[in-house]
């Protein structure tokens, strides 16, 4: 999974002001706000369940996932449905960006001083002209939630 040569085409989005990209092949689809069913007693990072054409998919609140939640900006989050080891998982993000073709040469490991919550979910960074794009590890983003659930 942790292939160091990063893929070259990314779907991008922003969460809590950070700019993320994930391998476009891992993205199943992008949806506007979906009606969500809360799950009482589930960890906070799991925002609820959505109905994706008959499949029940957990939605992960990426803001909470990346650290203490920011004061609620209350915009409508977007669903990025990603394929993970545990089946499709919807990542709730703030805003959807473009699909970018990037040169693998511009890929660098994540800097040490990054927010530790974010750092463990990130494979590395691409330097773009005007900003940085963090490459999100979707399996990890969806994975930690499992332990959080078990720990209860």
């Amino acid at each position: 999974m942790s292939n160091q040569t990063a893929p070259s085409r990314f779907a991008t989005f922003t969460v809590s002001g950070m700019y993320f990209g994930i391998d476009v092949l891992n993205v199943q689809e992008v949806l506007r706000r979906e009606t969500m069913t809360r799950i009482p007693l589930a960890p906070d990072v799991i925002a609820g369940l959505i109905n994706l054409r008959g499949e029940i998919v957990p939605a992960i609140d990426m803001r909470r996932r990346l650290g203490p939640p920011a004061p609620d900006a209350s915009e409508n989050p977007m669903n990025v449905v990603a394929r993970t080891q545990d089946g499709p998982v919807s990542l709730l993000v703030d805003e959807i960006g473009d699909v970018l073709d990037l040169d693998a040469a511009a890929f660098e490991p994540a800097p040490e001083n990054l927010n530790p919550h974010a750092r463990e979910l990130i494979r590395g960074i691409f330097q773009l002209k005007d900003r940085l794009m963090l490459v999100l590890d979707t399996d990890k983003a969806a994975g930690i939630a499992v332990e959080a659930t078990r720990a209860r």
Binding site: T35, I46, I56
Partner: protein, 842 residues
């Protein structure tokens, strides 16, 4: 092989080969076992030969050399058999079955690694060649050889192979189509357009039919699983030197494929058990005038929306006496409670974890893991297991299985603004309570809520609280959903009850598997997701049902399966129909013949375990009109209290039952020998005041404390008079002197004046609870180090007091543990070292 590499690199071709070979192998297993019964069946032989030949041909073409070599040798032997040049002896058949197993292993290796694997099966090939070369002289054909089976039907021509994943996907799409249809129907009602209306009606019809059709594609005959069993039975029979035949009935009975998958292993286990434990050795059978060959019978049939599966054998049956003995040995049953179990209940011990009756552990059965797993895996899919056995005639296990897991009826309820589905299988009834009168039927017992339901008390919990949801205060109407799990009933209060629906069950993703309150999720008519509640999980997290997995599983752990805490022994004596006494006060239950009862010192006694056991009777004390002597010749039941020298026997008329205590509605005593009355098991029951009875009988029964010199004095602070009386009985039995107090103020006064050695206080003692009382008492001079035991009812969280070594916390009505705690606590008192030794056994 190198030259042919290019061919078996074609994945599509290899896949076809694997699928086809797997089918051949499945058929071969069965046909070879049949061949054993009918060694000269030409059609059967021809079929076997064809299958082996096909595998050999294809693998030769694909370049799998080892496989080709093995199947080639097998083919040689089979061609001899087919030509009638030699007979299919069991040894020969075993050899060919070995070929089948080897083929299977190689195919698996090809499937996973793409290669045949390192094993060349040289030994097997050698033995095959040896067998082929050494053709024994052909014996004369026996007359009346079995007639040929009717030829294979042409079913293959009309069926095609479909990937299971595709079927699952179709099922999902149909579900989605149903939702879309529902929305269109809603829209059409509002739109008032006749063309749209006609079209949507058509859509409705087609969708329903499509749904039914797709459901059917997922159904499989149970025979799919059974086809493997003859081979299994043959191998076991061979290994144990038994003769066993398998008969099946209703192999065409269809079940959803997920269910088939789920019952496969339990069923296999039951069949193994029938062969291993059930069917006896041929000698034994013949001696018992049974045919030497035993029979395992498998039956399946539909009944009332369920599938019944029966696995029966005509073996030795299960001896309840043996189970009783084993249950004692393995610590699952205690001799005192044994009379409470009838044979049927005793048989059910088989399903307890860790239980095994096999004298020897074999590879087939006897490890004591299995029957409990069978039961739990059948119950997991909403099924039931029932066992019936007649000694000497055989055993029948019946499974009741739902038709499908995919779609179940469920009740939709709301709580905290969310919708939840409760599987109908666990639902007993719905209760609606209105207004003040309704609310009055819910009572609180030290924090635990119960509902008075037709005279019995039902523990209830609020779903909002269990799930941590907000409660809306408006309690105009209370809805209680009465549920059942593991044989226990309890109620769950919900905000609203909607309706029942057929729901499509979908599993929760791995992220949420840890949440035991949910069994899955489903999609409702409006397209939103709703969670399906796990009734057992809800019961456990609300503390309404004890965890089912607590009995000792490890073999070394000798622990009682059922805790005695709070259990009551019910008996009948004199004119009192139902009297209860805490089981933990009871040492033994015995029966004595009337002739064994003698007179000594003006009292009735009986010789018991080398001692003289004084007997007392309730008759004279409870009701003077009843004559005190028993006139019958039947053995007289006696309840033995105490231990060793201090034992005393209570003559009763009949032991009724042992039950969980439901000490709830209480009424003060109407008689000196009784503590009071309560509803136990749905009936009003009197509680025996053992202390008063003993005092009346002139029996000084102060336990071992009498011998140890200074008895400890206990200050008992408990507001409920009833509980206090029960506790007092237990404490006095253990040899303590008891000072009773009903509240904190009284307790404080008593503590100052009477200087007790120990304090026992109820957690919920008014006004401020036990911890506050302990704190206050310890502020007084000379009482700083008073040991305190806090009693909880289990419903409230045990309060860990700060006092360290002098404190303990204990569930109320768990006498044994309470006495044990007291003993430990009083060890801290310096000038009081001689502690009652036998108190712990009481």
């Amino acid at each position: 092989m190198a030259g042919q590499e290019s061919i078996h690199e074609d994945p599509e071709l290899v896949r076809e080969f694997l699928i086809e070979s797997a089918e051949h192998l499945a058929r071969l297993d069965n046909e070879l076992v049949q061949l054993e019964a009918r060694p000269r069946d030409a059609d059967l032989l021809a079929g076997i030969f064809r299958s082996v030949h096909t595998i050999k041909g294809t693998c030769g073409f694909l370049g799998y050399t080892t496989l080709q070599a093995i199947t080639h040798e097998a083919e040689t032997i089979l061609s001899e058999l087919r030509a009638g040049r030699r007979d299919a002896s069991p040894d020969l058949i075993s050899l060919i079955l070995e070929v089948i197993d080897a083929t299977r292993a190689i195919l698996r290796s090809i499937e996973t690694t793409g290669k045949e694997g390192a094993n060349s099966f040289a030994n097997l090939i050698e033995r095959l060649q040896f067998a082929a070369a050494n053709t024994p002289a052909k014996p004369e054909p026996a007359p009346g050889a079995a007639a040929a089976e009717p030829g294979q039907s042409a079913v293959c021509d009309s069926a095609i192979r479909v990937d299971v994943g595709l079927l699952d996907k179709l099922m999902n799409l149909v579900g989605e189509l149903v939702l879309a249809r529902n929305q269109i129907l809603q829209y059409q009602n509002a739109a008032d357009d006749s063309a749209l209306s006609a079209t949507s009606q058509r859509l409705n019809l087609i969708t329903t039919e499509l749904q039914e059709g797709v459901m059917k594609t997922r159904m499989q005959p149970i025979g799919m699983v059974w086809s493997k069993l003859p081979r299994v039975v043959r191998d076991i029979a061979h290994a144990l030197g038994k003769q066993i035949s398998v008969a099946v009935e209703g192999a065409g009975t269809e079940l959803d494929r997920t269910i088939i998958e789920a019952i496969k292993d339990p069923m296999l286990h039951l069949v193994r058990n029938a062969c291993g434990h059930g069917i006896e050795l041929p000698e034994v059978r013949v001696k018992a005038r049974k045919p030497a060959q035993g029979r395992v019978m498998l039956r399946a049939w539909h009944e009332g929306g369920q599938v019944n599966i029966e696995i029966s054998d005509d073996g030795g049956g299960i001896d309840p006496a043996k189970i009783r003995r084993k249950a004692f040995q393995q610590g699952l049953l205690r001799r005192e409670v044994e009379p409470g179990y009838n044979d049927r209940e005793i048989l059910n011990f088989i399903f307890k974890p860790g239980f095994s009756t096999a004298e020897q552990v074999t590879s087939i059965s006897g490890r004591g893991v299995g029957m409990d797993v069978v039961k739990s895996s059948i119950e997991k899919i909403g099924g039931q297991v029932d066992l019936a056995s007649t000694l000497g005639e055989g055993t029948t296990v019946r499974l009741k299985i739902p038709l499908t897991l995919a779609i179940i009826p469920g009740l939709v309820v709301t709580s905290g603004g969310e919708r939840f589905v409760i599987p109908q299988a666990s639902l007993l009834e719905l209760v609606r309570l209105e207004g003040e009168a309704g609310r009055g039927q819910i009572e609180q017992i030290q924090g635990a809520r119960v509902y008075r339901r037709r005279g019995t008390l039902l523990p209830i919990a609020c779903l909002n609280e269990v799930l941590g949801l907000a409660c809306d205060g408006s309690d105009e109407v209370i809805h209680i959903v009465v549920l059942q799990s593991d044989g226990r009933q309890f109620g769950v209060v919900v905000d609203g009850i909607q309706d029942t629906q057929e729901i499509v069950v979908k599993p929760l993703s791995r992220h949420l598997k840890g949440l035991s309150m949910y069994a899955g999720a489903t999609i409702m008519g409006d397209g939103r997701v709703a969670l399906i509640l796990d009734v057992a999980g809800i019961g456990q997290s609300a503390g309404l049902v004890r965890s089912a997995s607590e009995p000792a599983r490890a073999a070394g752990e000798k622990k009682e399966a059922v805790s005695e805490a709070g259990r009551l022994l019910l008996f009948r004596a004199a004119s009192f129909g139902r009297i209860a006494v805490p089981l933990s006060l009871v040492a033994r239950l015995e029966e004595f013949a009337p002739s064994a009862i003698e007179q000594a010192g003006g009292r009735r006694v009986v010789q018991y375990r080398g001692r003289i056991l004084p007997l007392i009777s309730l008759g004279g004390m409870l009701d003077s009109r009843v004559p005190d002597t028993s006139v019958t010749q039947d053995p007289v039941p006696v309840i033995v209290f105490g231990a060793g020298e201090q034992s005393i026997g209570l003559l009763v008329d009949e032991i009724l039952d042992i039950t969980e205590s439901a000490v709830t509605c209480r009424k003060p005593a109407s008689h000196p020998a009784l503590l009071g009355s309560a509803v136990v098991g749905g009936r009003v029951t009197d509680f025996l005041d053992l202390h008063a009875v003993l005092a009346h009988a002139g029996e000084r029964f102060d336990g071992a404390a009498a011998r140890s010199g200074k008895p400890g004095t206990i200050l008992l602070a408990e507001n409920s008079q009833f509980s206090r009386a029960l506790l007092r009985g237990a404490l006095e039995m253990a040899g303590y002197r008891v000072i009773e107090c009903a509240d904190a103020a009284e307790a404080l006064r008593a503590a100052e004046h009477q200087r007790p050695d120990l304090l026992v206080a109820a957690q919920t003692l008014p006004p401020a609870g036990a911890p506050s009382l302990v704190e206050q008492i310890r502020r007084r001079h000379g009482l700083e180090r008073l040991p305190a035991l806090t009693l909880t009812t289990g419903a409230e969280s045990p309060h860990q007091s700060s006092g360290g070594e002098f404190d303990d916390c204990q569930a109320m009505f768990d006498w044994d543990a309470m006495v044990e705690s007291l003993r430990r606590l009083s060890g801290a008192i310096e000038n009081h070292t001689a502690q009652p030794e036998e108190a712990g056994h009481l």
